[in-house]
């Protein structure tokens, strides 16, 4: 067990070790759905929701697997839980808001293969977090992911009006912005204990 307070865990996951900009987790949706702020914010919320649910499940699964002494099943069971949660969210969104469902498109089922979600589950297990700490960690990671997604979406919306060289349009330009954002986030390093 560790002595980190819940606030520190949250700050650490959201800012200091931001999942997208410091750990490079969840880059695919980060590059794919960051074209418009509106879509990005909804994607962020969906990811955060899946993260919290799967983090709770992962905590239970880890305890269970430790009890029956079968740690090699960890990865397989985590991914199954995440896939089913995503399926649930997908059905929910389809029912509640068909337009949102269309705008998220292929990236909704792809939340399953969002490394950030599996990353949260794996890191919390490695760090030995308790139940409450796990939830806070997942919330922080989700908030950090949403923040990074919103920032880059806002920048890209502005860049649509900028005159950039033809060859740098698209992914290359997004990656440059991401690099600069990542530099900015390094400034948070003093906030929390590593």
């Amino acid at each position: 067990m560790n002595t980190e307070s819940l606030g520190t865990i949250f700050l650490n996951a959201a800012l200091v070790n931001n999942f997208v900009l410091a750990y490079f987790l969840g880059i695919c949706p980060f590059l794919g759905v960051s074209g418009a702020v509106k879509t990005a914010s909804k994607m962020g919320v969906a990811v955060m929701f899946v993260m919290v649910i799967s983090s709770m499940c992962a905590f239970g699964i880890h305890a269970f697997l430790a009890a029956i002494n079968a740690p090699y099943l960890q990865l397989i069971s985590y991914i199954v839980v995440i896939a089913s949660t995503v399926q649930l969210v997908e059905m929910f969104i389809k029912k509640m808001s068909p337009s949102l469902f269309r705008s998220l498109g292929i990236f909704l089922p792809l939340i399953t293969t969002n490394c950030a979600i599996l990353g949260v589950a794996l890191f919390q297990t490695n760090k030995g977090y308790g139940f409450l700490e796990s939830i806070v960690y997942a919330l922080g990671a989700g908030a950090g992911f949403t923040l990074a997604l919103l920032l880059i979406a806002g920048l890209r919306e502005q860049l649509n009006f900028a005159d950039v060289p033809q060859i740098s349009k698209g992914t290359a330009l997004t990656l440059f912005i991401a690099g600069i954002l990542s530099l900015c986030f390094m400034g948070f390093a003093g906030l929390g204990a590593q």
Binding site: Y72, F123, L175, M186
Partner: protein, 210 residues
């Protein structure tokens, strides 16, 4: 700009299945798939190479199995089945690396487990192995795997040379070389990949013009 010609049918020859992954449809530079490990573990050439080989192995094995089972897996549950197959081989790789070199295992960390969610592997299973024979799938996996490893190595080498002044731990520069610390940090990963993409873009536009 990513053109998927995998379903181009009889026109694609057998050798072409292998070669396309190396350059024309390079998973990293052209398709921009599987970015997370590409950026995260490419801070040294050695890590990048190890990660590339591990991914290539999982890709090869899962492509073989998916291709063998393609007539038995019902359409509705195919994605779930693919993920289970991939997760199995990743677990095998995870334990194998731990047995071979604890040091390497520590420096790659959780990213070995995260091969499961590498979009590249799932996309090859879905787009290629589920529709083609075992032989073709093996060639496809080898080509894509080598292309992926090559791209990772390109990134890792640049970042290690500039950020550390070394390549595979051999010093390259004379004393007094100021290391570009930023290249080892996360931001460096973004910048290096962006620079490689720019170079590839220039080459491609030249080709189209001529």
């Amino acid at each position: 700009m990513s053109k998927d010609t995998t379903a181009s049918g009889p026109a694609a020859t057998t050798t072409d299945e292998f070669i396309k992954g190396l350059w024309r449809e390079n998973p990293v530079f052209v398709q921009v798939l599987g970015m997370c490990p590409v950026l995260a573990v490419s801070n040294t050439a050695e890590n990048a190479l190890a990660m590339g080989l591990a991914t290539a192995f999982v890709l090869l094995m899962s492509n073989i199995l998916v291709s063998l089972l393609r007539d038995f897996i019902p359409k509705q549950v195919r994605i779930a089945s693919y993920i289970l197959i991939i997760a199995t081989f990743v677990t095998v790789t995870d334990y194998a690396i731990q047995a071979i070199s604890v040091e390497l295992y520590k420096s790659l960390g959780a990213f070995i487990s995260l091969i499961v969610v590498n979009c590249l592997i799932l996309s090859r299973a879905e787009a290629f192995a589920s529709k083609n024979t075992v032989g073709k799938s093996i060639l496809d996996a080898l080509g894509m795997g080598i292309g992926f490893t090559f791209a990772l190595f390109c990134l890792g080498a640049v970042r290690e040379i500039l950020g550390n002044g070394t390549l595979f731990d051999w010093a390259l520069f004379p004393e007094g070389f100021q290391n570009w610390i930023v290249m080892i940090l996360p931001a460096g990963g973004f910048f290096t990949l962006a620079a490689w993409l720019l170079i590839i873009n220039v080459i491609q536009t030249r080709k189209i013009k001529s």
